[in-house]
């Protein structure tokens, strides 16, 4: 699933590069689960643009950056109009002598060490163009376990046990564990008790003082037979206690039991809230709007995420908005509701607006409003006119697909994440659907609700095949069958909130 997330052009000076770096940081924080990967991307950007500003002679006056998700990779593209690079200097290895001078490091070695692939080309306007890429981590969806254990052989052994099922992060004492937790979202902590520097009990106490970390499930494991230790550990509000030695299957059983129990508690709390609020926001549209037939499919995880589907029609025009609020916990749902209220108000107070104008209003609110700026969203606005005419504007949303019986092709409509800058402009794309064609637009869960890259490819392939194979049956049934295929391949319940909208122009028209 390809999409643009950020596009920004700025003057080549130190103040502007700091602002640009913060933009990239904002984007990576909201789109990349793995914090250290986001930090690497931000660091690479900082090194490149600082290098351009400081060393380019003749100097660059302008730098453009683009950050996107493409073919299973995160891509950062940096272009500048300064002196063309000396490519021979770019082979420097990461070496201590690199930093011999005052602030003199050109950072090339650091960039090479921090990205998976680095390409340099001179673009068609004779500008430097650096393209950096990082693979989208297959483990992003796996349960992340932090293993805290001071004995290196034991760490290796437990990692062996755990790594087939979980993403395993490691620390050899409590202090280092806190550092990992500062940089990485963790789903469960598995900690030894007796360790140097900071023991497991102190680690547990520290975590319970931190509002961000106090609810992370916590398991102690220890070989100590000290009287009272278990009671002291239990008094710290832990989820389980394992006596060492422990076998692999036994360890996994303990972890799964704790995760299941925690999941059930969160689910019960969320359900209570959801029943009251969510029902009024279940993404849906009427089966017909003006000259269009429409069908919607939706799956909901019950926790986190939040898809919004809104519409407004007047005379011969109508507007449909699809929003995906991004987030890792149930609070993102709250923001989805807040946006729902705002967008409904914007749509009703206007006549049917240009699609890009509505996105620009949403983006301006996302930028300036204290509450709404706390969450990242992607969105798409479609203006539905007669005779299969559509105008579409997108803000970092996956490309819609035009489907025929034989193939599906993406509509390359792009725009950056809303709310990153005060005055983002979105470029609309005009699409005309011919008889026998449908358009599908969706939130990213449709193709991304899978455990790894291979499963994602399979899911995307199966769903687009189902879209083509259902072209000859009524659109509402087609949407149902496609979502059935989604359940079959992605599993139930879905890993992410997912909304699919199918539309076709009225054939009688």
């Amino acid at each position: 699933m390809d999409r643009l997330l950020l596009e920004h052009r700025f003057r080549a000076n130190l103040e502007s590069i700091r602002a640009a770096r913060k933009l990239v940081e904002q984007v990576t924080c909201s789109t990349i689960f793995e914090v250290t990967l986001g930090q690497k991307i931000v660091l690479c950007l900082s090194e490149i643009v600082t290098n351009i500003v400081r060393h380019s002679d003749p100097a660059a006056s302008e730098i453009s950056i683009q950050f996107r998700q493409e073919c299973g990779s995160w891509i950062l593209k940096v272009q500048d109009n300064g002196e063309l690079f000396n490519t021979a200097a770019m082979t420097d290895a990461l070496a201590p002598e690199f930093y011999q001078d005052d602030e003199g490091g050109r950072g090339i070695g650091l960039i090479q060490a921090s990205c998976e692939d680095l390409k340099y080309v001179v673009d068609e306007y004779n500008r430097n163009c650096l393209i950096l890429s990082w693979p989208i981590n297959q483990q992003t969806e796996r349960v992340k376990i932090l293993l805290v254990e001071d004995s290196a052989p034991m760490r290796r052994l437990y990692r062996e046990y755990l790594s087939p099922n979980y993403a395993v992060f490691m620390a050899d004492n409590g202090s280092k564990a806190l550092n990992v937790l500062e940089n990485q979202e963790i789903d469960l902590v598995l900690s030894d008790i007796n360790m140097p520097t900071m023991d497991g009990l102190s680690l547990r106490v520290e975590l319970s003082r931190s509002p961000q970390n106090e609810l992370i499930p916590f398991i102690f494991m220890t070989a100590s037979e000290e009287q009272g230790l278990q009671a002291r550990a239990a008094s710290l509000g832990i989820d389980d206690y394992i006596a060492k030695p422990v076998s692999g299957p036994n360890l996994i059983q303990h972890i799964e039991r704790v995760l299941q129990r925690t999941g059930q508690v969160i689910q019960r709390l969320t359900n209570r809230l959801d029943r009251k609020i969510s029902e009024s926001f279940i993404p849906d549209l009427p089966g017909r709007i003006n000259h269009w037939n429409i069908a919607v499919g939706n799956r909901n995880t019950g926790i986190g995420g939040g898809d919004l589907l809104l519409h407004h029609s007047a005379e011969n025009e109508a507007q449909v908005v699809l929003i995906d609020t991004m987030g890792h916990d149930e609070t993102s749902k709250f923001y989805a509701y807040a946006y729902g209220g705002l967008i409904t108000g914007l749509m009703r107070s206007n006549r049917v607006n240009q699609c890009q104008a509505l996105l620009e209003q949403i983006s301006a609110m996302a930028y300036s409003d204290d509450l709404l700026s706390k969450i990242t969203l992607t969105g798409m606005v479609l203006n539905l006119a007669e005779k299969g005419n559509l105008m579409i504007a997108s803000a970092a949303h996956p490309y819609p697909l035009i489907i025929t019986r034989d193939k599906s092709r993406p509509v390359q409509v792009e725009g950056m994440l809303p709310g990153l800058l005060a005055d983002i402009e979105f470029k609309p794309v005009n699409v005309v659907l011919r008889p026998g064609e449908r358009i599908a637009f969706y939130t990213d869960g449709l193709f991304e609700s899978a455990a790894d890259n291979e499963a994602r490819k399979l899911l995307e392939n199966e769903i687009t095949t189902a879209m083509r194979c259902t072209m000859d049956i009524p659109i509402d049934r087609a949407a149902r069958l496609i979502m059935q295929k989604f359940d079959e391949v992605a599993g139930v319940p879905a890993r992410d909130d997912t909304t699919l909208v199918l539309m076709e122009p009225d054939r009688i028209e």
Partner: protein, 106 residues
């Protein structure tokens, strides 16, 4: 980048930095580092990075510059309080092989 200088009870100088230690941050702190480097005392200078949220090679270069000046004068530099991304970067560059790093006490 903001900074504050303090003298510890033992006489060591503590420079607390606050902000982003990038090229712009370096330009804001350069004069302070030069002044500290040319003084004759104290013998030990602590660079407290507890409130530094971002570090890149410009910041590292600037610290290495200070470290070298102090070393030539028989003085020493200790980095303290570093955490998060700055700590990751210092570890990647193995800076602790040259400059002692004192991690935050919990």
């Amino acid at each position: 980048m903001k900074f504050q200088q303090k003298i510890a009870d033992c006489g060591d100088l503590i420079i607390e930095l606050n902000g982003e230690f990038d090229a712009l941050g370096c330009s804001e702190i350069r004069q302070v580092f030069k002044e500290v480097a040319t003084q004759l005392s104290p013998m030990v200078v602590f660079l407290d990075l507890s409130a530094v949220s971002f570090l890149d090679s410009s910041g590292v270069g600037s610290m290495v510059f200070l470290f070298k000046c102090l070393r030539e004068a028989g003085r020493s530099l200790v980095i303290s309080g570093v955490h998060g991304q700055p700590r990751e970067l210092l570890e990647l560059l193995r800076i602790h092989k040259a400059i002692p790093i004192k991690l935050m006490e919990q």
